[in-house]
């Protein structure tokens, strides 16, 4: 938990926002909130890059933000860009230009981190979230650039992703379509988004609640002025039918909207209605969390997610099932890996976060079989590095993927290129974790669950695995023999196994 003054800048697709906050004990007190509209997304979503004119305007806004930070004598700040910058081809130039001319160091928020922060914020903000999650909940954060969807049920994340269906993006995409039928294009496109997401979820999994969030919510609240914490589908649909054929000036005049709000209203309504149809619910609940404030709370440590580890684990098990892993074997390898990790702690000197990486790698260690039974290590690596687990940083994903790759690679297999990007410390970590994983996997190599348990006897010059087995484990012993050399090369001490057949 930080304490003192802190600044958060969010460079969104439609506006730049800054929060100056004070962290004290368990509180985040908002001191000042600035918002400057600048629709970077108009460039990014229509031409793929940010125009020089907008680069300069952005720099000017950020120079002003920098001055404000200086007034408060704040050095501790984070300036985070979302899709408007993240997806621009010239994002590196943009970040460098802003750094040189304003002194503000920009960071690009990874989509998986963005969706996770928004999800955690909604969890803490929306009453009865846990209850709704038991029935299955879609949390949709509809922003200008993207729709971030997090679909959870119980402890399990069924889907999590950032989809290019933000309201400003839709608007730009169909700007050439006459406004009288533009809503049809929005409807078709959003319907396509729902189909895409539905296709990735097991048809048997039903979700029945919708929670909305994001920059669109303020607009919804102003238009619908709900008494409680939800807006009904009926209200939404009636309103949509009325306004979907309005021109932008009509929206501005009749509904008293700002120019930027009028641009995104119809696609936003279309998105909510389609999501309501997907969940078959009659209303959607909303999170009033403001993203920059959420960011401040998250990075200050106030926003907590006590169920994180459990949720990640169940989500990863779901992924292992999706790729048709042998689940009893997976569970055994997880148990054996973690037991080895704990028993060998004096030898490996790894940390608790490394333990979590090992656990994840053990759960996912054979997903690559789904693609083909050859090049399994590479296939698993490919699948894992493409995952977007909410709350995982890209580095975590990379370490898990490389641990699995290193564990399964065969002599002569080439190193995947990402190995070169690791520091020496990270490479050592991968070697240690993959060696533990390989040892655990050897103990159930035949996937027979023959070895029921083991103890680890650490002697001065040797480690002995004392395994209890229901039958002589030929396959396991052969696999164990094959990885002994790797173990001594990794930990500097030989390892051997003693299998004792136990009879019931």
């Amino acid at each position: 938990m930080r304490s003192g003054l802190f600044g958060i800048i969010n460079i969104g697709a439609s506006a730049f926002r800054m929060v100056i906050a004070e962290f004290r004990k368990n509180e985040v007190k908002e001191l000042e909130y600035l918002i400057k509209p600048l629709r970077l997304g108009v460039d990014t979503f229509s031409q793929g890059y940010i125009s020089l004119e907008h680069v300069k305007q952005a720099t000017e806004i950020l120079s002003n933000f920098r001055r404000k930070l200086d007034e408060y004598r704040i050095d501790d700040y984070r300036a985070l860009c979302t899709s408007g910058v993240r997806e621009a081809r010239n994002k590196d130039f943009f970040i460098d230009y802003v750094r040189i001319h304003s002194g503000v160091e920009l960071e690009v928020l990874e989509p998986s981190e963005e969706v996770y922060i928004k999800y955690v914020s909604a969890r803490s903000d929306v009453p009865r979230f846990d209850e709704m999650e038991k029935q299955g909940v879609v949390f949709a954060n509809i922003a200008s650039g993207n729709v971030t969807l997090s679909i959870t049920k119980g402890d399990r994340v069924l889907y999590s992703g950032t989809l290019p269906y933000g309201s400003l993006r839709l608007r730009q995409m169909f700007v050439h379509v006459p406004f009288l039928k533009r809503y049809k294009a929005f409807d078709q496109y959003v319907d396509n988004m729902v189909k895409t997401v539905t296709a990735t979820i097991d048809p048997g999994e039903k979700v029945s609640c919708l929670i909305g969030g994001g920059s669109s919510i303020n607009l919804m609240l102003r238009l619908f002025n709900p008494r409680g914490d939800s807006i009904s589908k009926r209200e939404l649909t009636e309103f949509y039918k009325k306004v979907r054929v309005y021109s932008r000036p009509e929206l501005i005049d009749e509904l008293k909207l700002r120019e930027d709000e009028a641009a995104v209203l119809v696609p936003t309504l279309s998105t909510y209605i389609h999501l309501l149809e997907f969940t078959k619910s009659d209303r959607f609940y909303f999170s009033r969390s403001d993203f920059p404030v959420t960011l401040a709370e998250f990075y200050s440590g106030r926003l907590k997610d006590p169920g994180f580890s459990r949720r990640v684990k169940t989500t990863l098990m779901g992924i292992a099932e999706k790729y048709r892993s042998n689940i009893p074997h997976v569970k055994k390898v997880v148990r054996f890996s973690l037991a080895l990790f704990t028993s060998l702690k004096d030898i490996h000197s790894l940390t608790k976060s490394d333990y979590r990486i090992l656990e994840a790698a053990a759960i996912l260690h054979e997903v690559g079989y789904f693609i083909d039974t050859k090049d399994v290590a590479q296939n698993s690596y490919f699948i894992i590095k493409s995952l977007a687990i909410p709350g995982w940083k890209r580095k975590t994903t990379q370490l898990v993927a490389l641990t699995v790759y290193q564990m399964g690679r065969l002599p002569g297999d080439k190193d995947v290129s990402q190995m070169d990007e690791l520091t020496v410390k990270e490479r050592l970590l991968i070697n240690k974790l993959s060696c533990i994983l390989k040892t655990a996997n050897a103990l159930d190599a035949g996937k027979n669950e023959l070895i029921t348990d083991f103890t680890v006897d650490i002697r001065e010059n040797m480690i002995i695995i004392d395994a209890r087995t229901s039958r002589e484990p030929f396959v396991e012993l052969a696999a164990f023999e094959n990885q002994k050399r790797m173990f001594v090369e990794t930990f500097g001490i030989p390892i051997d196994i003693r299998a004792r057949v136990t009879y019931e």
Binding site: G161, L163, M173, Q188, N192, K195, A199, N448, V475
Partner: protein, 507 residues
């Protein structure tokens, strides 16, 4: 059987190895979920003494016992364990099978050479369009070799011969290194033994299976930096040179050959000679190897016996390659309606632009496969799914396509959206300059076809493309609202415009 996706297993007890393959039956297809192999050489003693030694019997029981545990762990509902030549020839085969039954509960079925050939035919029919031309199928084991001939999709004959590579090695190669005289005698024996039943001419394709011939094709692929796959092509020039290369080498010297399995160092020569004799007889440029032939055939047969027919089955009119593409799409849960619609539109555009883009009719096969599989990457993740499609196509067995064709299909699918092909794209630069040009042209068509089904609603019934002086004009037939498709067209016409320098218009 109530379970719509039962897990099944097949065990192939050969002379050199015992192999287990566990599969999950899916919607008119199946997916191998586990494989296990033990190289045992149980036939060696049989071909010397006529029976299994006690040690061989122990090995068989122990390996099968492990396999049974793996099957139980995978919750196998049905299995078939078959034994081939070594069991057929061993005088104590029944006794060994009885011991196995007692100790493991597994029933071993000793199948005839003709049944082996039929199973091999089944396996080959899932990879090759056997309805085209005459195909000679050769399944070479350690103790016997089964020959069968398929003429235009019909199995004409099957013959089991005692021409297994281990058996031939013991009978003809007494010296190490082998003498030229011994090679000559073997060639003459093969010609004599096969002359009575093999056709004199008219074989268009030679498809071989068996571990030793597969090892030969593995060596070929390794030397030519080709990736490993279930179906491999080996040219006859290589085989001829390989025979010359190893004839003068002792078995110990052969062990240094990269890719050669040590357990096959002695028997690979007789296998290579047999296949070379056949290629010479039919003046073939090479032969195909099919790995897992017997296991594949057994699995298909077992599924058929459960009352299910696989996608590629259903008569000679079924296009095997197409069926396997659909199977691959289903494996990755593709949206079949969209994939078929995009492929249909791509075909029409391909025909209209073929001459303007200087494409050959054969290029359609690449575009067709890319059209069907362009979105499979969505199974991994929506984001960057075009790149995931590239990876999956490159790494999934696509039956009936050469390595070059698979790489082309993967690249065309990769460029169905987002960036156009660029010289700093590693996947693109791996292609020859001619194939890069072909990729760009086919991807240009695929992008437009995909754009014209932007809503995934199959709203466009027909499309025509007409090349004019400064433009290519597209017209579509539809009775639905195609706002999305029009927008998709505008977004995806970029590559065709860049390639042709013409304006691309939807009228």
């Amino acid at each position: 059987m109530d379970n719509p996706n039962p897990v099944i297993a097949v065990i192939d007890i050969g002379s050199n190895s015992i192999r287990l393959q566990i599969s999950k039956v899916l919607d008119r297809t199946y997916k191998v979920i586990d494989e296990y192999k033990e190289t045992v050489r149980i036939g060696d003693n049989v071909y010397r003494t006529g029976e299994f030694s006690p040690a061989a019997a122990d090995t068989i029981t122990s390996v099968l016992s492990n396999m049974k545990t793996m099957m139980d762990s995978a919750r196998v509902e049905k299995y078939r364990a078959v034994a081939t030549a070594s069991f057929r020839e061993a005088s104590n085969a029944g006794e060994v099978a009885g011991i196995v039954k007692d100790k493991t509960g597994l029933d071993i079925e000793i199948i005839s050479g003709v049944e082996e050939a039929r199973l091999m035919y089944l396996a080959a029919s899932s990879y090759f369009q056997l309805s085209e031309g005459n195909t000679l199928l050769v399944d070479m084991g350690g103790g016997s070799t089964e020959f069968s001939c398929a003429a235009y999709g019909e199995l004409k004959f099957s013959e089991s011969t005692p021409l297994g590579c281990s058996k031939l090695t013991y009978e003809f190669f007494k010296n190490d290194p082998v003498k030229a005289e011994e090679v000559k005698k073997l060639k003459s024996h093969i010609k004599k033994s096969t002359g009575g039943f093999l056709p004199l001419y008219g074989v268009d394709r030679l498809v071989c299976s068996g571990g030793t011939l597969n090892n030969l094709s593995f060596i070929y692929n390794k030397r030519n930096n080709l990736s490993d796959s279930a179906v491999k092509f080996v040219d006859s020039i290589f085989t001829k040179h390989f025979i010359n290369e190893i004839t003068g080498k002792s078995v110990a010297e052969r062990l240094k050959i990269p890719g050669l399995e040590p357990a096959r160092a002695d028997i690979i020569l007789s296998a290579a000679i047999l296949v070379q004799t056949l290629m010479k007889r039919y003046r073939l440029e090479g032969f195909y190897t099919l790995s897992g032939g017997l296991r594949g055939g057994l699995t298909i047969d077992l599924i058929n016996k459960m009352g299910m027919e696989l996608l590629f089955q259903g008569g000679s009119h079924v296009d095997v390659r197409y069926s396997r593409l659909i199977e691959t799409g289903k494996k990755y849960c593709f949206e079949e309606g969209h994939a078929l619609q995009v492929t249909k539109l791509a075909e029409k555009i391909f025909e209209d632009l073929r001459s303007a883009l200087n494409l050959s009719p054969g290029d359609w096969a690449i575009l067709e496969a890319a059209g069907l599989l362009h979105d499979v990457g969505q199974y991994i993740a929506y984001s960057r799914h075009h790149k995931h499609s590239y990876y999956l196509i490159m790494n999934t067995e696509l039956a009936g396509y050469s390595e070059r064709e698979i790489e082309l299909i993967a690249n065309v699918a990769r460029y169905h959206r987002r960036a156009m092909p660029k010289n700093d794209h590693a996947n693109f630069m791996r292609l020859s300059p001619q194939d890069r040009e072909l990729t760009a042209k086919l991807a240009a068509i695929l992008r437009i076809a995909d754009g014209l089904d932007r809503s995934h609603g199959s709203f466009v019934k027909d499309v025509r493309a007409e090349v004019k002086a400064g433009a290519i004009e597209f017209s579509v037939t539809s009775n639905a609202d195609i706002t999305m498709e029009q927008s998709g067209f505008e977004k995806k016409k970029d590559l065709l415009g860049a390639l042709t320098g013409k304006e691309i218009i939807l009228i």
